[in-house]
Symmetry: C2
């Protein structure tokens, strides 16, 4: 054995897990996707989606794999949140868990996956007790989401590709937990010039109908290069 391998070998090894805090937005509410755990300990208790790291994958690969397995979705916005490593966080053994938070467009999450994994969307304000330190993770994820949403165009990750201004305003109101002034909100959002106004209207929410918009990543890139950036 190489001396270096030998040096490493004297140190203990640990199970490494990942937990995904999956946010969604539906009918004016910010939601979290959770499920009932299928193995001991805590079998049948509410839990975040998680899984163990495999030997042949990186952390981000693993997070994407877990998300794909459990939702069928790929190319999802995801960011590492924090790594949890208290000794007794898992009563069944020492596990280091890396928490990720993800934003998925709730309308793309299919009910078949929901059934298969016993998953449900729960309102963030009616969150049940989750296992272990998962409630801490969610709290931290929500704080991060709030900060990010104010300074980066991540809100669009939670909406369909085409959305209305009333829709995105209600999204931001749900994220920040406060109501926003309609005129000021529109003024600011439109003044950044990162949206494309479509000719179509969404007629499902009102008789008058609301114009549909699309987020333009190129325009946003130009903003970034100009040093202005996104802010709401």
């Amino acid at each position: 054995m190489d001396p270096e391998i030998q040096y490493y070998a004297q140190h203990p090894r640990f199970h490494v897990a990942l937990d995904c805090i999956i946010f969604g937005f539906d009918r004016g509410e910010l939601k979290l996707l959770i499920h009932k755990r299928r193995f001991e300990p805590f079998m049948g208790h509410w839990s975040l989606f998680g899984g163990f790291l495999k030997a042949d994958e990186s952390l981000t690969d693993a997070a994407n794999r877990i998300l794909k397995e459990l939702t069928g979705l790929e190319h999802i916005y995801m960011e590492e949140l924090q790594t949890y490593g208290e000794i007794d966080r898992d009563p069944a053994g020492r596990v280091i868990s890396v928490a990720y938070y993800a934003l998925i467009p709730a309308h793309r999450y299919s009910a078949s996956y929901s059934q298969r994994y016993g998953a449900t969307w729960v309102n963030l304000h009616e969150l049940p007790g989750l296992i272990m330190d998962h409630n801490d993770m969610v709290e931290k994820g929500l704080r991060r989401l709030r900060r990010r949403a104010a300074s980066q165009p991540i809100g669009f990750e939670l909406l369909p590709r085409e959305f209305t201004l009333p829709q995105i305003q209600s999204l931001y109101e749900a994220i920040f937990g406060s109501s926003l002034d309609k005129r000021n909100f529109r003024k600011k959002l439109l003044s950044m010039d990162v949206l494309i106004k479509l000719e179509k209207k969404d007629m499902t929410q009102s008789r008058k109908g609301a114009y549909l918009y699309r987020f333009d990543r190129r325009k946003y890139q130009r903003l970034v290069e100009a040093g202005t950036g996104f802010a709401i």
Copy 2:
């Protein structure tokens, strides 16, 4: 063996390491504490301070232990940055590394530790090539430091307990990499009312002398409770 233990046992285990990005501030320059690695692979190359996680300690315990061992300092500002888990990030084996960044008052770092561990302070703008992904970690650490410094009173962690306004201004200039207007800087900092002005002056930098100040954690707490917070 319990069924749950058995379930966990089928998953692979990993070496978990920690790396500390240690910032300091000295003579108007933002510095990083690095050393020459003492074991293979990369023995003799510039590296962050790091170490392996032990079986009986949490991640934060480990980070504090490493910092204490290598600097002699305790009660240091430290925050988790990110966890690095690429498969081949370490050529000698699979290691998951949790990066922390720490702010230490450079004047409290004793030269004896420096000798013992071959450590040196290097200017952040003259950073040598570091091993593995350590340069990425530093870059991310610096970005985080900049964001935090603008919104939380962490600058004081890098200064002696008693400091002058010119000193703290030059610290912020070093962190942000830009020069700040003296009058506006003082106005803003003092208007938050989190400093105590002392009767003494520091006479080492000028003939006139500059008043010494101290950061008041209680006053800051009141700011937080009032919802105002710190901003520079």
